[in-house]
Amino acid sequence: MDILDFIRGGYPEVYERTHYNIVEISGRLAKLQEKLLVPRHACVSITHKSIFHWDRREPAPCFFLAMEVIVGRPFPPHSLDPFTPRRTTLHTT
């Protein structure tokens, strides 16, 4: 939210061609982000999925942001997979 507010406020010409994709493994958080972000920033799209199941090739230049992603997240009850990460890619082509 703050990143996009910042770009819109300071660099409107960059904001115009920015797409912000969120890859979110948690269904609950994906819904929450949808509710909070999409009404305010139409350039956001949220994909509810693990990055390890990502199957689309993104040919455009983009920033890939990973904040506290590789440290690991709570173990989901059904799985012993220690990395259940969330990542975002930001395109400003």
Binding site: R57, P61, C62, F63, F64, L65, G72, P74, S79, P82
Partner: protein, 257 residues
Amino acid sequence: MIRYDYRSLEPYQALITVNANGDYGIYYTRVTDSLISSFLNLRRGLGHPPPLPSILKSRSMRSIYNHLPFAPNLSTPEYIPTRLLSLLRTLRTHFPRHRLLLSDFSSLPDTIPGVNAPVVQARVRGAAVACSTLFVRPGLFDIFFPTHFGRLRDMYEHVLAQPRTTDDQLPVALSPLAISASPLSVGAGFFSSYQPQNRRTPADGVASSSGLPVGERKSNVFSHAEFMETYADLESTCLQNGENPLVDYYKNVKFLF
């Protein structure tokens, strides 16, 4: 998790078992997991030494050690970042023109025993309580791993530098700034064999942000303070008492950029 056999210095992978009562067990086998073997090969190639006491690298000292009574025959458990390796591969394959900005913990307090070991903690009435074993009921605990950023950077740059295989020969978006019509790889060393150490090998049709086919800048590791001093507006985050949380706090956080 892996451990080395002190006799042969061969790595063994840990397998976790769960019995009908929900009790955990652990046993060790030769490395059969392909991700573990590729991580170990990569680490050997990068010259990252396994965490073994240097005294045991000599065969004769090993032989003496292994005749000592009660000496352990397996090294300390080492938690290896195999998932991190597969993330880096995903980045290379699916995001060929990405620029990575990654921030995370370089060290953590109250970790369980072992090399690169995680902290295992539960929330009890809002406070985090660390425990001393990995064998906890899934779902109730948070498990956090620290990251060795120097090694991460080497791994990342190495994974990105791998030549493209046929299955990822899909086109990348060309930059309007691209100034080369012929494959760069063909004449790369024609005028000079010099390739700057801090630049990646240039990709065909992709100019760096300067517009020159010199390859992207390689990523660097920054401490939290260094990163903020380079990129943040520190004046507006300074407190009245002169402290600056962006610089003074987060001592165990680093950036790869």
